[in-house]
């Protein structure tokens, strides 16, 4: 192999299929094997001691690491072009583990207010129990971001494509603002997946996913993943740089450098909270990753066709899809999600009482499954005000950009004409 061959940078699809797994020396198993085990026999007492002391890379206990899960983690890290990744039991766990690793009581977070309702609830209510305060701002109002940052701010947070408003965040600008305030920028990239957008390549420091959604893609496994860029300078960031009392005063940034945040999240936060991914779910999520680009291309194509159809329909009030030229986020979508801004969007039905119209529309649908998820291969529908965002007060709902009649769609891989037919007949049934 020549020197230039040795430096080849493989394409996204190649990494989707191969990254994170080398067929093992004994069996040659081509698929990633499911290591359905809790624990791993140590080579020797000395080696075991070194493992627990983090001086060896090796398997300890499946709550901390597992070879099947590790294959999933490295594959996601490769697709996001990060330094490494850590899988968690869900997307919510990925968020919480990230924040518990970075934050101390008294710290503050500034977040976009265009967030998944569960995220907002976690940030407001669960954070309060941990002594952490979150402030919410309009994602494209940079004066508001700056005004909300103070000496206690430790993290900036946003979703690549805000749920469910279809807002696209200016990641590069936000990353610069974060760095100038010694904060990592954490981006939830669930709706885009690394195929549509790679936040770390735009300057974000940590990317999160609910892998339950498009990554797994088949609606069969709950899981989450945290990806570290390895590029944030944690030298003056106490939670990562200072001696850690829960690991013999280890200084994670001094010792692990580009892997510091990730190591701390794994061997302290996930060790202590137990929010690990099961190896079987990791296996299923890997199956999803292997077709990610192909599925996302079709998801985006179907979503675009349906968004255009609805926008032209006189029965529809508005369609909030950043792929449409009418969207205020269209330019940001072209910049950050060039293959297409995902396949989840919302719209409003014209006329009548919005809550009742929304309910009748959902009842009349045949192919769209009414449930609380997105990113399935099948098309999904939900009414956020009565489900995912129902914990929010009317004021919080309005601040999150949700109106009572809003319908959210997650466009699947079905035949485009069949989806259009279903939407049309349901609109006629109202």
């Amino acid at each position: 192999m020549s020197e230039s061959d040795q430096k080849r940078v493989f394409g996204f699809e190649t990494r989707m299929l191969h990254a994170g797994h080398v067929p093992d020396a004994v069996t040659g198993s081509r698929a990633v094997p499911i290591y359905q085990t809790t624990s791993y026999v140590f080579d020797s007492p000395d080696y075991a001691a070194q493992l627990f002391d983090l001086k060896q890379y090796g398997n300890i206990y499946t709550r901390i690491n597992n070879p099947t899960t590790a294959a999933f983690e490295e594959r996601v890290a490769s697709l996001e072009e990060g330094a490494g990744a850590l899988a968690t039991s869900s997307g919510m766990a990925a968020q919480l583990a990230t924040m518990m690793t970075l934050l101390e009581p008294g710290d503050e977070v500034v977040a976009s207010q265009h967030l998944y309702g569960g995220t907002r609830t976690q940030f407001v209510h669960t954070f309060r129990k941990l002594g952490v305060t979150a402030h919410f701002v309009e994602p494209d109002d940079f004066d508001a971001w700056e005004a909300a940052i103070n000496s206690q701010t430790r993290v900036l947070y946003a979703e690549t494509i805000g749920n469910p408003q279809g807002s696209v965040v200016d990641i590069a600008r936000l990353a610069a603002l974060a760095e100038s305030n010694n904060c990592p920028l954490v981006i939830d990239n669930t709706f885009a997946t690394p195929y549509l957008c790679q936040p770390l390549n735009h300057g974000a420091h940590i990317a999160l996913h609910s892998a339950t959604k498009f990554m797994g893609g088949h609606g069969n496994s709950i899981g989450g993943v945290i990806v570290e860029s390895g590029r944030f300078d944690y030298s003056n960031y106490p939670s990562i740089a200072d001696p850690s009392p829960s690991y013999h005063n280890l200084r994670f940034y001094d010792t692990f450098g580009l892997h510091a945040f990730l190591m701390k999240a794994r061997v302290e936060t996930i060790r202590d909270t137990g929010a690990c991914l099961s190896p079987f779910n990791a296996f299923l999520l890997i199956q999803g990753l292997e077709t990610l680009s192909i599925r996302m291309d079709r998801h985006v194509k179907n979503a675009m066709a349906i968004a255009k159809y609805l926008e032209d329909d006189p029965r529809i009030e508005y369609v909030a899809y950043p792929g449409l030229e009418s969207s205020p986020y269209h330019e940001l979508a072209l910049k950050y999600c060039s293959p297409g801004p995902g396949a989840v969007f919302s719209f409003g039905i014209k006329g009548g009482e919005p809550r009742a119209a929304g309910k009748r529309f959902i009842e009349a649908l045949n192919l769209f499954s009414h449930l609380a998820n997105v990113g399935d291969a099948r098309s999904l529908v939900i009414h956020p005000a009565s489900t995912t965002h129902q914990q929010l007060s009317d004021e919080e709902l309005a601040a999150s950009g949700i109106d009572p009649g809003m319908i959210r769609l997650s466009i699947g891989l079905e035949t485009e004409e069949d989806l259009l037919w279903d939407l049309d007949q349901a609109l006629r049934a109202i």
Binding site: V22, A25, K55, L86, T255
Partner: protein, 195 residues
């Protein structure tokens, strides 16, 4: 679970170095070749403290059957190995000089590494000294900078991926027999993985 003969992608994004410097001082084939033959590593600035990065690296290399030679101005023994106050005091042959000291001190270690006939000057993650590199190269040494020798070993022996780190290694070829273990006798088979 070794990494077989797979290609290592150029992990370009996590370095202090420019593209040109990376090609020179972080080339995957240079790193791999070095790890393949290194039998003795002198560690300049090896700490006596268990929780320092250099102590992690030394513990790890020793578990791989590599002879570590601590260089420290005051200590007597570290990890059971005799300590020398400077590189030039080491009476045995040294393959790699691995440095954990600030960049402005590195040119001196480069001169000493040339003097003792080492084959490689390896400055740890976060360290870059063009002056040291020039001295070492002129003396016939290979130079690696701003990389961690433990991380690189873990990348190529396949163990780093147990912790979800992006090794950048991608291959459809079967890994070779000789999975890394803690035992000292695994080093021979390890070489076949690394080269």
């Amino acid at each position: 679970m070794g990494s077989g003969s797979g290609i290592a992608c150029d992990l370009s994004t996590h370095s202090l170095l420019t593209v040109e410097h990376r090609a020179k001082y972080q080339a995957p084939d240079l790193v791999r070749r070095t790890l393949g033959y290194a039998r003795s590593v002198a560690i300049v600035g090896l700490s006596t403290k268990r929780q320092k990065a250099s102590f992690f690296v030394a513990t790890f290399l020793k578990s791989r059957g590599i002879k570590i030679i601590p260089v420290h101005p005051k200590a007597d023994r570290i990890l059971g190995e005799k300590v020398y106050p400077t590189l030039t005091d080491i009476p045995e042959s040294v393959d790699v000089v691995n440095v954990f000291r600030p960049p402005h001190e590195c040119p001196v270690y480069a001169e000493q590494a040339v003097g003792i006939g080492a084959k490689v000057l390896w400055l740890q993650l976060g360290l870059f000294s063009e002056e040291a590199a020039t001295i070492a190269s002129a003396g016939g040494l290979d130079v690696i900078m701003d990389l961690c020798i433990k991380m690189e070993y873990g990348r190529y022996d396949g163990t780093m991926r147990f912790l979800g780190m992006n090794t950048g290694i991608l291959t459809a070829k079967k890994a070779q027999i000789g999975r890394i273990s803690s035992s000292q006798d695994m080093h021979a088979s390890e070489c076949s993985i690394l080269t």
